[in-house]
Amino acid sequence: MRYRRDIVVSFMALLGLGVSAQAGVLPEDRADVLYHLYDGGGVEIDGPSILVRKQVGKSTSFVGNYYVDMVSSASIDVITTASPYSEERKQWSLGMDYLRGNTTMRVNYTSSVESDFDAKTYGFSVSQDMFGDLTTLTLSYAKGDDIVGRSDDPAFERDNDRQHYGVGITQILTRNLIATLNFETITDEGFLNNPYRSVRYADQGSALGYSYEPELYPNTRTSNAVGLRAKYYLPYRAALEGEYRFFTDTWDIEAHTAAITYTHPWREFVFTGKYRYHDQTGAHFYRDVFPREQATNFRGRDKELSPLTSHTFKIGASYEFINDVDGWGFIKRGTANVSYSFLTVDYHDFSDLSVGALLGQEPLYALDADVIQIFFSFWY
């Protein structure tokens, strides 16, 4: 919980509940074993992710995923208002795809458990191929039930209900170009702030000129995001992909995200390079420092809700050590993959309090992180 709340959203696409899923054909049978490591800003998170997908009969495919985050945190939040901690989050998911004609229906269930946070998500989506299979339309819905707790207070328990609505169109535009347009609305209702985090307010009676009080968020949030992606096949067998997303929500966060990816195969290798840019405004109730205690109805100092700009540089390589021609028994194809991403985040209104400076003299905080993924994939 202390690590992060929005944990299940990103894993919906993993089971095919992304709003631009492909209809008309079932996903390939494959298994992936991944090790992930995030190291930055005093936080280290690593663990495995294992995915297995298998078709049963002609029209049904099952998928399962097991994912673990092992968190060791001495982040800027933690070292300024609390003590370093370690925790573990385990998540497992099950899903099923059912193909009938040009229509694919999907259901899935995801459960994420931490010592102080429990999230369950139920999802459903339908994809339809149309117009000579040039167009795939996908509608998706998911409902999430979260229970927020506190590790230092067993009696503390709060609910949060999430609803996800998605519409997506994937379109073949030319024999070299494919594009997808996705629209997604997510609503939250319940306890949305972090029960551990504090905001600070100006206090002339304290040594540094400020004191802390618990943060207090609105009980509802509705966000809308529209994303456009296009991928182009280059004449010498390589691919160029561009993507853009616009995000807005009822907390007054407005974000622009753009990325460009280049994919280049060479012999048994596939090399990838990616640059991603993200810029956002802050939530209306966010302040780096409030003028006094209980200055506003809602108050937050989560650095992820402050105005910020982030850049990500990624390089990756994939090596095919089992190919379609040779095979290993029932395994048709296998790849070994490694990627490294460098993430840098500049916070425009979040001060670094770890330096112990007086109020108004603190430098702004910035974060650099290394993200490493090593995984093996098998198709059978």
């Binding site: 992060r4 990103s10 095919g16 631009s20 992936d32 339809q128 509608l139 974000a255």
Partner: protein, 78 residues
């Protein structure tokens, strides 16, 4: 409010989908012309286990979420 807005978007799309099966539509990219789009490097999500993880990282470090539907792509042919 948002449900109504979503309904206004969804209804035309559902009617579009329902009518698609009744038409004699001639695709401007024929099935035999989709070999490049069927190349694995053209998949919109080559490795779902990897892309969902990195999306998770971004959602933890940024205030935005959703709208990045990652699955699908490829040739779109049966």
């Amino acid at each position: 409010m948002n449900i109504k807005v979503l309904g206004r978007v969804l209804m035309p799309l559902m009617l579009l989908g329902a009518s698609a099966g009744c038409s004699n539509f001639e695709p401007w990219v024929k099935p035999y012309e989709r070999d490049r789009l069927a190349d694995p490097i053209m998949a919109l999500d080559t490795d779902p286990v990897s892309s969902s993880y990195i999306q998770h990282v971004y959602e933890a470090r940024e205030g935005a979420r959703g709208g990045e539907g990652a699955a699908g792509g490829g040739c779109g042919c049966n």
